[in-house]
């Protein structure tokens, strides 16, 4: 209790301080607060990650019952991930928010919300009490909402914010149902009760419970078809918020699932297949829609869905591994998933920071308007390129490592299992490959249209590189990515404890990571290094050879066209066209076109806008239905006194008569039955 009160006092103090100081001070203070939270929580988390988990029981209130705070290896991993991204985020934000320094009140709200968000995220990883968990869950959702709607004078921003708010409310409803179910059966709100529940109830009940939690968390994590808030929330938020949102906030959904997997120890195989299926769906669907997006941040948002899918595939095969008592599969699956959680939070935040820099420099994130920025913003461009390579899962970057783990899990699984599982394995393999390929297509498009060639609309002369305050955090992220890329084995070893948590659930002693996998990772590591050296060497050679040769600069070879203009360049739309033509049936691309008919055509235009098919079917239809149905009953409050009194009469007579009628009907039926 004391601890909680102390925390509350601190929070209120922080809020007061932020209210008092000036704009610059607000940012500084927020950064200081975030760093403090990060350091304190890391001090608990690092030992936990190494196996010394931290646990304390707080005497809660009448409402909650006792509150257990527990930081085990799993929480620790997520806490550290969260801390890293939140810290880089706030520092990047300091630079990014300079433009908005005049909006004092909004900045205040923003800073407070950011601190609260960080607190909530860290708390969620540690809290083991359903009610408090829900409290923190909504605290996170609300503060995230405030952060997203920073530019709230824009209409889209607010709409996206509300959209997000409703989705997160639905998610909390499902979580509530799950916790209610547990509380109903066991009468306790503590997480340990969930374990008891899974222990004593039937497997079916276990699966039902997990499904409730799964949907709840899937909405937050952005699994298809619960992803519909994500592509709206990310583009409208400030860059660092988008980074944090898709870097860690959606990961908390993954954390919840993993936590529940640890607690609900029932029919793992079925659960695993459920997860696997949902994940494959989101992976493929996410990237398929990502390609046709022409808003950079929206594109990245869809990629978050895709990467959540990859994480989910890892989680799924891990769970199945638990189900079929195949430790190696479990290790590889969960290892890949957990590592990809970190990786994705890294390269996705880096990408969003890059997008943010582009936005600040050009005031747009519409891909088609951009181009040639690399000449003005080389650092941003290179960092973006690195992130793009990493997110496409290409060696020697970190994205490859986690995907490699998942791949080798699948290939390891191939050896065992019946034909049914084999087909599923093949299916997931294919989808993983497809995801990789599509991601490559998507990011070649994104990077080259935005940064390469020459500018399409933006006046390139005004563009300039962003300040160090934005670049330095990006360097840090990039550095960590390279570290993971070059020393993957190290990070897998760090993951040993969290993975052990899962392997223990099937009662086996904590398994060491299989040696051949560590070897493979070692090899990948030094192969990567070798590769880098190779490139450098060749580069030097090239310089040396061509230094003596004449080098001239001319126009691009226009294949016979005398004038080459920026307008003639390939656009993002046309780059993706050959794909979108193939994938047409699965996409929803609206086209507005005035075809050229006459000989001397006047001004023509051609525009396409993409939409989410699932959203059209699940969300829009539903909302329309609701509006129609509620519309039928608008006559009630019609201002006529007689009607109002009539309602009373109807109610009374209805209550008297309807039972009688029902009784008579029952009698009749009874009579007819006895004929």
């Amino acid at each position: 209790m004391v601890a909680i009160n102390g925390l509350l006092v601190l929070i209120i103090a922080a809020i007061v301080v932020i209210l008092l100081v000036n704009v610059r001070g607000k940012g500084m203070f927020a950064a200081a607060a975030v760093v403090t939270i990060a350091i304190v929580s890391s001090m608990v988390a690092i030992p936990a990650l190494l196996g010394h988990s931290f646990e304390v029981m707080l005497t809660g209130t009448y409402t909650f019952g006792p509150v257990v705070i527990k930081v085990d290896a799993l929480s620790a991993w997520f806490i550290l991930t969260i801390n890293f991204t939140m810290t880089t985020g706030i520092f990047y934000g300091l630079g990014y928010m300079k433009r908005y320094a005049d909006q004092r009140n909004s900045i205040t709200l923003h800073a407070i919300a950011y601190i609260l968000l960080h607190l909530a995220l860290v708390g969620l990883c540690a809290i083991q009490n359903a009610m408090v968990f829900l409290l923190f869950w909504e605290m996170m959702a609300l503060s995230a909402f405030v952060l997203i709607t920073f530019e709230h004078e824009k209409k889209d921003t607010l709409r996206a914010g509300i959209n997000y708010l409703i989705h997160s409310h639905v998610s909390i409803i499902f979580l509530m149902l799950g916790f209610m179910y547990v509380a109903f059966k066991t009468g306790s709100y503590s997480f340990s009760a969930i374990a008891d529940f899974a222990h004593h109830q039937s497997a079916m009940a276990g699966i039902a419970l997990f499904l409730a939690f799964f949907i709840g968390f899937a909405i937050k994590a952005g699994f298809v078809p619960f992803h519909t808030w994500l592509p709206y929330a990310h583009p409208v938020a400030p860059a660092h918020i988008s980074a944090v949102m898709s870097g860690v906030v959606i990961k908390i959904g993954i954390f919840g699932m993993l936590r529940m997997l640890l607690l609900i120890n029932s029919d793992y195989t079925t659960i695993g297949f459920i997860i696997l299926f949902a994940s494959i769906l989101s992976g493929v669907y996410g990237v398929m829609l990502a390609i046709i997006q022409h808003n950079l941040k929206r594109l990245l948002a869809y990629h978050s869905i895709e990467n959540i899918g990859i994480i989910g595939i890892g989680m799924g095969i891990g769970t199945i591994g638990l189900g079929i008592h195949n430790e190696v599969l479990a290790i590889l699956g969960f290892g890949g998933a957990l590592l990809h959680v970190l990786n994705h939070s890294l390269f996705k935040s880096l990408l969003f920071y890059g997008a943010g820099n582009v936005y600040l420099a050009t005031h747009t994130v519409a891909i088609e308007k951009l181009g040639g920025i690399i000449k003005k913003m080389p650092r941003t461009a290179i960092l973006f390129l690195i992130a793009a390579l990493a997110i496409s899962g290409l060696p020697p970057f970190n994205g490859f490592v986690s995907e490699f783990l998942i791949y080798s899990g699948l290939y390891g699984w191939i050896g065992s299992g019946s034909i049914g599982t084999l087909v599923i394995v093949l299916f997931s393999l294919l989808s993983l490959v497809l995801i990789g390929g599509l991601a490559l297509l998507c990011f070649t498009k994104a990077f080259s249209i935005v940064f390469l060639g020459s500018s399409r609309h933006v006046n390139i002369e005004e563009v300039q590189e962003q300040g160090q305050l934005q670049l330095v955090p990006m360097y840090f992220v990039g550095l960590l990515m390279l570290l993971i890329g070059f020393f993957p084995a190290l990070f897998l070893r760090i993951l040993q404890q969290p993975i052990a948590l899962f392997t223990q659930t099937i009662g086996t002693a904590p398994q060491p990571i299989p040696v051949n996998i560590t070897n493979a990772l070692h090899t990948i590591g030094w192969a990567g290094l070798l590769f880098a050296l190779f490139i450098i060497a060749l580069w030097i050679l090239r310089r040396w050879v061509s230094s003596s040769k004449p080098v001239e600069v001319g126009p691009t070879w226009g294949c016979g066209y005398p004038t080459s203009s920026a307008k003639l360049q390939y656009t993002a739309n046309s780059f993706a066209r050959s794909y979108s033509k193939l994938a047409k049936p699965m996409l929803d691309i609206g086209k507005k076109e005035i075809a050229i008919t006459e000989v001397f055509p006047s001004k023509k235009h051609y525009e396409t806008h993409t939409y989410d098919k699932l959203e059209r079917y699940f969300i829009d239809k539903l909302i329309k239905l609701i509006k129609v149905v509620t519309g039928w009953f608008l006559f009630l409050q019609n201002g006529r006194l007689q009607r109002y009194i009539l309602y009373g009469i109807l109610f009374i007579s209805g209550v008297i008569i309807i039972p009688i009628i029902i009784e008579k009907i029952m009698m009749l039926l009874h009579f007819l039955n006895n004929l």
């Binding site: 060639g453 126009p555 691009t556």
Partner: protein
């Protein structure tokens, strides 16, 4: 190491053989076997012209591309000798390395800001995207057959016994060959000889490269051929003695080159919009292979 040397050697002659075959079938007195290599050397001696729209990416890309291919070559085993780099799941690394190379090719092409090169880039991206599943399924089925997940273990454990396995191997060889064609953008997917930029895929992407860079790109292409030839050869050399393995290797490489030559001289390129289906067909063929493996292992109950 041995495999790397062999591949390097093979790469020197491979394209030469192709060209020679084509000239013979065309009844011309073609260039010598070594001509392509000579071209590369000549290019490397030349100076370069760069478009003013290009950036550092354009200069860096050929180097990276070449390095990826070279690294890929390091992964290939030969007969009973491991590749320089060999670990469980190294073929995943292999595929993704080639992917990396492609990534850089594509962005380099886009860097020039030329609509034609953009066209080629988008096609290249799409085709490689479709080619990958086939490769992964084939190696998946091989892994299933042998129970191993690295090039070396797979190939050394791959003892062809019954007819069906031979059939499978041949089928796999066919698919791999096709993948090689796609990777190197030769007929029937793409025609290096064509002179109309609109119909090119790979050629149009490197329109603006010149000098050293162009040389690198060309040689990387030769190397790729040799690599795939080596893989195909490995399908059959499992458990052979070194000598026999050598013979098989050389034979495969040579016949592969000749076959390509023949195809290129007697076939025309597919229509662009047929390519996608064709490439996808490869995936389904490789799926057949997978089923065949299941049959071999008696997993059909």
């Amino acid at each position: 190491m041995l495999s790397f040397v062999l591949i390097a050697l093979a790469s020197l002659f491979f394209t030469g053989v192709i060209i020679r075959t084509k000239s013979i079938t065309a009844g011309r007195k073609g260039p010598g076997i070594m001509q392509p290599v000579k071209d590369v050397i000549r290019l490397m001696k030349k100076g370069a012209v760069y478009s003013q729209t290009t950036s550092i990416v354009f200069r860096l890309a050929p180097v990276v591309y070449f390095c990826t291919v070279a690294m890929a070559a390091l992964l290939i085993p030969f007969g009973s000798s491991r590749g320089v780099i060999s670990f469980n799941g190294d073929f995943i690394f292999f595929a993704y390395l080639l992917g990396l190379g492609k990534f850089f090719n594509i962005i380099a092409a886009m860097d020039t800001g030329s609509s034609f090169e953009g066209m080629g880039a988008s096609r290249e991206a799409l085709y490689s995207l479709f080619a990958e599943p086939a490769f992964f399924i084939i190696l998946g089925s091989l892994a299933l057959l042998t129970g191993n997940t690295s090039f070396y273990d797979i190939f050394s454990a791959l003892h062809l016994g019954s007819y069906i396995t031979y059939a499978l191997a041949v089928l796999a060889a066919l698919v791999l060959a096709m993948i090689a064609m796609i990777e190197n953008s030769r007929l029937p997917i793409d025609d290096p000889k064509t002179h109309l930029e609109l119909t090119m895929v790979h050629e149009v992407m490197i329109l603006d490269n010149s000098g050293f860079d162009l040389g690198l790109i060309l040689y990387a292409g030769y190397l790729k051929f040799a690599i795939f030839g080596a893989i195909i050869a490995n399908l059959f050399t499992g458990g052979m003695s070194l000598l026999w393995a050598l013979v098989v290797f050389v034979g495969t490489q040579f016949s592969f080159a000749v076959v390509i030559g023949l195809i290129e001289s007697f076939m025309a390129r597919f229509r662009m919009n047929h390519n996608a289906q064709f490439i996808f067909a490869l995936s389904s063929v490789s799926f057949l292979i997978f089923l065949g493996v299941l049959l071999v292992l008696g997993k059909f109950i």
